[in-house]
């Protein structure tokens, strides 16, 4: 039984038994591209697939679809959902639960032991056994941190490389002025299309601080100063909440190395508070109270 058929069987069982109304998974789109799929009909489960190009973090669809705890007073149809989650995606679910975006009982997590996603996933005709994405090369836990059903076993972690870490070291070796020019060069290309924000499971503010009608924090102009304020502000708002799925960097049309910004803050959170986002449904230390002894 391939992983795809296992997922299809599980989806069929969940849908037929009425445990869930929708299964969010992956399907084969046009031009050999893998894309998110929303299956509600039992005989549609054949669309569901699993392959090395399943790069999207599907958990970004959950906050809009499920009810937060304080609203689950039984009103309205109970929209239970099943979701296919890779190990990195599953950490985002923990972040959602820690911030009470929805209650755990509304979700059936089909965790998939992941052997890594290939570079070029999400683009036309990806090379199905090409080199792994940077996040996958550095990934050591190949089993989801939270799941109801586990599909496949975790393949042994052979060699681990950390291209992002190397780039971080390079940047840290530069002078502040050098780093400033590095980032201004990248931010200059930004289009403010917000694909990085819309794809991010941790970015679910009703109105983004940087997109207000009254330009309180940044203006509407697509200019360097506003772009930098958006990227740095967003990076800060992800401190202790970003789980490193790096989808933001994948979808960026102008190849801004956004993962470096997130990695800088997640490294700082680990250094100062020994905290790794998504390990457990615990909110980020930056957003919570100082515990007693940290005077």
């Amino acid at each position: 039984m391939t992983l795809s058929t296992e997922i299809r069987e599980k989806a069929r069982e969940l849908l037929a038994s009425g445990q869930v109304r929708t299964v969010i998974g992956y399907e084969e789109g046009l031009r050999g591209r893998t894309r998110p799929a929303f299956v509600t009909d039992v005989d549609d489960v054949e669309r569901l697939v699993w392959n090395r190009a399943c790069t999207h973090n599907l958990t970004t669809y959950l906050p809009g679809r499920l009810r937060p705890p304080h609203q689950s007073n039984g009103a309205g149809p109970d929209e239970r959902v099943a979701i296919v989650a890779k190990p990195c995606d599953s950490r985002a679910i923990n972040v959602h639960l820690a911030e009470q975006r929805y209650t755990r009982d509304q979700l059936h997590i089909i965790g998939v032991a992941c052997a890594g996603i290939v570079e070029g996933a999400g683009e036309s005709r990806p090379e199905k056994d090409g080199p792994l994405q940077a996040r996958c090369q550095a990934c050591t836990e190949r089993t989801p941190v939270i799941y109801d059903t586990l599909i496949g076993e975790a393949p042994p972690v052979t060699e681990v490389a950390d291209p992002v870490g190397e780039k971080m070291a390079e940047l840290e070796a530069m002078t502040p002025a050098g780093r400033m020019e590095f980032w201004l060069g990248h931010f200059d290309r930004c289009l403010r299309c917000y694909a990085c924000r819309q794809v991010c499971p941790a970015c679910n503010c009703p109105t983004c601080l940087y997109e207000r009608d009254d330009s309180l924090w940044t203006g509407m102009a697509i200019r360097l100063q506003e772009k930098r304020a958006f990227h740095l502000g967003r990076a800060y708002h992800l401190a202790g909440r970003c789980i490193g799925c790096d989808e933001c960097e994948r979808v960026c049309p102008v190849n801004i190395p956004i993962s470096l910004l997130n990695r800088c803050l997640s490294a700082e959170l680990e250094r100062s508070y020994g905290f790794r986002a998504g390990e457990a449904p615990v909110p980020s230390p930056v957003t919570t109270m100082l515990s007693g002894e940290e005077g």
């Binding site: 940047l171 840290e172 502040p176 002025a177 050098g178 780093r179 400033m180 020019e181 590095f182 980032w183 201004l184 601080l209 924090w217 102009a221 200019r223 360097l224 100063q225 930098r228 304020a229 740095l232 502000g233 990076a235 800060y236 401190a239 202790g240 470096l260 910004l261 800088c264 803050l265 490294a267 700082e268 959170l269 100062s272 230390p285 930056v286 919570t288 109270m289 100082l290 940290e294 005077g295």
Partner: protein, 154 residues
Amino acid sequence: MMFEPRIIGFLCTWCSYTGADLAGTSRLQSPWNLRAVRVPCSGRVSPELIMRAFDEGADGVLVLGCHIGECHYDNGNHRTAKRMPPLHALLAFAGLEPERLRLDWVSASEGERFARIVSEFTEAVRELGPCRWRRAGPALPRPELAPAPAERGG
């Protein structure tokens, strides 16, 4: 002409602002570069405020609050203490010299400590020179201001 840094100071009204007052009333000399912004608590100083200050051209930002345990709101300064390290790391990573942002505690009775911190910080920023963080947008033609009919006040 010596470089005069523009320092923005966020002073918590219960401790640091009162400390600043005390420094003034006891004639302690401290550089005038500090533009003080009175805030109800150092916890009110969100990272966006600090980033905005640098975006608008500040050469240094000083955040002063009550000592841990003395906060009028019990845990305001705790929050600031937790927020600063990640902000420091991010701004330094983005190219801002870490010495341009400083968090410290000054209680209402420490006028002398206030004056010392402000002069220490001003000298540190002066040494770093003007902050090149702000990037002005394109130069745009400005309307010549029509002569205002009523004579403007002195």
